[in-house]
Symmetry: C2
Subunit: 466 residues, 2 copies
């Protein structure tokens, strides 16, 4: 029994006439009047299922094959043959079909061979990878993740797994999840009536990380080129299709680098990832273009072909003010840009990806490097047509005196960041990095509009796992 994946059987790599075995789940079964059944079997290795032609002469034809419904698991053996059917190059002329698992109560099986709403599928998240859409999303998500690692590996970056449970907040703000083993019905108190976190698991108050950046800077300032790729958490009750409480983030950090180098890295990186999706998953991308977003492929191709435009924040504000557009949020120098502004800049004004650089220092994090003008920092946002901000980054403040001033301004306790200050005392160098939310990237590539559809399980306020 030479087991092959459906992908390989359909690829032409196996000579017609060869006996093959495929294993997977039934998508559809159609019985022909000629006394045959056509069973489409999918194993997740590629978008298309393979058609298994089951003759009535199979010993279990009436007893089992004709009872196959969507979702049943089968092991099908037969001869690989050029297919007469449209849309497929090969099929299997079965000599044996073993049913590994039937579907109990097929009438109520949630994944019927028909269109389902995304809302419905979020309620059956454990079964939705059996649909065309979520199988494709899983493959593209994997392809993008593999490309992330490959891109950095080829360039000599080291993957650093920064702590998930942490005592600090990278932004000096942002809602965090507490991590604790204290007995909530019997909380230890300190002398002042507060909670005595000295009795907690780590002997101090701990949270889930919002970013690995501060930690990975320590590796950057030892080993030059590093990145994180791991889960991060925001306990913000912003129940929108663009936000998750738990999401994976990619954060490269480069030494001896300024904001210009950072922007170049971001451009190379995004184009590399989009190229990987188009080249490695043409089948899934074609499906997204057909069923989800008509220009799903074209917009990635255009993105790859376009040099990024760079616009200073101050210029961006002028462009927006002169645009004649009526924005929901008015624009003035000093405000943060909203998605409507970002999309105007990248879609209407330039028509390709834009890097907005040098934001007002008051609206950006303490660790961003103050520019010589004293009122802006070396921060950037990469804006992409169809989505707005996709990457946020900055050159970091490597000068200890300036960092200390910024920390005072933000009301941060220098003692708590002593290790971070050390990095500025011992061989400091200019360095920069950015953050890319992985699920937002997956949404962009697949053309999904709700970020809950980019994760293996729905995760949102009111919805941990399922």
């Amino acid at each position: 029994m030479a087991v092959t994946s459906v992908k390989r059987a359909l690829s032409g790599a196996v000579a017609p006439g060869t006996e093959v075995t495929v294993r997977g789940w039934v998508r559809t079964r159609r019985d022909s009047k000629a006394g045959l059944s056509f069973v489409n079997v999918s194993d997740g290795s590629c978008f298309d299922p393979i058609q298994v032609v089951a003759p009535a002469t199979l010993p279990n034809y009436a007893g089992e094959v004709q009872r196959l419904t969507s979702g049943c698991a089968v092991i099908a053996t037969g001869t690989l043959a050029p297919s007469q059917g449209k849309g497929q190059a090969f099929e299997i002329q079965a000599t044996r079909i073993e049913v590994a698992g039937f579907v109990d109560d097929p009438e109520t099986y949630p994944i019927q061979p028909k269109a389902h709403s995304l809302e419905f599928l979020r309620e059956v998240a454990h079964l939705r990878p059996r649909t065309n859409l979520f199988g494709a999303v899983a493959r593209v998500r994997h392809t993008l993740a593999a490309a992330v690692h490959r891109f950095f590996h080829e360039r000599g970056f080291l993957w650093i797994n920064t702590p998930i449970i942490t005592t600090s907040d990278a932004e000096g703000a942002g809602q965090m999840f507490r991590v604790s083993t204290l007995d909530l019905l019997n909380l230890p108190r300190d002398a002042k009536g507060g909670i005595d976190f000295g009795k907690d698991f780590f002997g101090k108050e701990t949270f889930l990380t919002v970013s690995g950046q501060l930690n990975v800077e320590a590796y950057c300032l030892s080993l030059s080129n590093v990145y994180t790729f791991g889960p991060t958490f925001r306990a913000e009750n912003s129940n929108t299709p663009r936000h998750l409480a738990e999401f994976w983030m990619i954060e490269p950090e480069i030494a001896f680098a300024d904001l210009d180098a950072d922007a170049r890295l971001a451009e190379d990186f995004l184009k590399y990832l989009f190229r990987a999706a188009l080249e490695e998953r043409p089948d899934d991308m074609a499906f997204f273009a057909e069923r989800v977003l008509p220009d799903a492929i074209e917009r990635l191709e255009k993105f790859i072909a376009s040099p990024f435009e760079r616009i200073d924040y101050g210029d961006a504000v002028q462009i927006l003010k002169k645009s004649g557009r009526k924005f929901e949020f008015p624009v003035e120098w000093g405000v943060d840009l909203q998605t409507e502004h970002e999309r105007y800049l990248t879609e209407q004004h330039v028509g390709r990806p834009v890097v907005v650089m040098n934001y007002p220092e008051r609206i950006k994090a303490f660790y961003m490097r103050l520019n010589d003008d004293g009122r802006t920092v070396a921060a950037m946002d990469v804006l992409a047509p169809g989505i707005g901000e996709i990457i946020g980054g900055s050159q970091r403040e490597e000068r200890l005196d300036m960092l200390d001033a910024r920390m005072r301004q933000f009301g941060l306790d220098a003692a708590h960041y002593q290790w971070y200050r050390d990095l500025r005392r011992y061989g400091t160098v200019p360095h920069a990095g950015f953050g890319l939310g992985f699920e937002r990237l997956v949404c962009y590539v697949c053309g999904l509009s709700n970020i809950r559809d980019a994760i293996p399980y729905p995760r949102a306020p009111g919805h941990a796992e399922f």
Copy 2:
């Protein structure tokens, strides 16, 4: 200014006589009586630093070069030349050395060019990647992680990011960390006086995951071959050099597979990873063999060359009882094996890696498949010389009636696992998988005896981050 990595400059890929620039951190500086200084510069790209020869004619020689100490950051430009010094093929004859960052107060800089104890370095975790040892560990850790992804990608597995915040416990046991945003000083109560988790962020009680396995099974039973590689958490106060509260775990899951296929996958996987470490990081491995564990390289080579032995648990118990060894924990059929037993089996009895299979059902998790004997389950542990258990895995119980019986036996609420039961109702198939603790793997490859030295930051009871 043609910037090159130290790795490239030392590799022979750059023609002697070429002008190059390297950027990194000073390891040592030695002044010669001939009026030259030798500055060793490391950038993390490989184990060895490159020697930069600084002539006294440099304009900043007296003012800066002669003040360089360990940890200072420099940008050195000069001519690449064959080196007269021992142990290095090339050096840079500098025409310019720019100091990017000095070390404040060099006397107290923690990373002096001398041997430091591992205990001391755990206290300065943000600087320890600047040491030979932790630079090497970071590179090998990265190399292993990259090899993990490559191994699975080449075989058509999809990386699935299973939820970190979860409502369930994969083992039906094990201490978990609570994740919450409730105000501890003002906890909401329910009618019975308990905590009202309906008011918590997700509207229910949530924890950090101990394993992604149950979740990834849903993907396995849709897309065939999948794996997780992400952080997992155990709130166990086992303050030993072998345990962490937060660690990364790799969990492949394969469909249409039994325990035999699982053991073969584990064997191929470990050998692939060890080969990657030996082939891609010979410099770092040579250092581990020289300074950490003399047979660090030899034991990986032997591991790769040895077919795994397989021993039934029952036979293993007999072997241990007949060994004449006095174990701290006596062995009887029904007990779990301790490290002393595991190491006897793999080191003394067989002298190569061993897979112990078919453990008593009472000591194993509810999801493991009951064997026909009714008293063992299709579980395996892979034991490696020098460490004992390195992988634990099992075939999963795919039969709903058997699973339900096991869940009752473990006192688990079937309603809570309805989605997991669904996977057995809708096209169930035999499937199997295993778990590999990534930090334990790193320790094994690098020859480290304390798992705190395998992570980017020390993490242990009483020690979240630093």
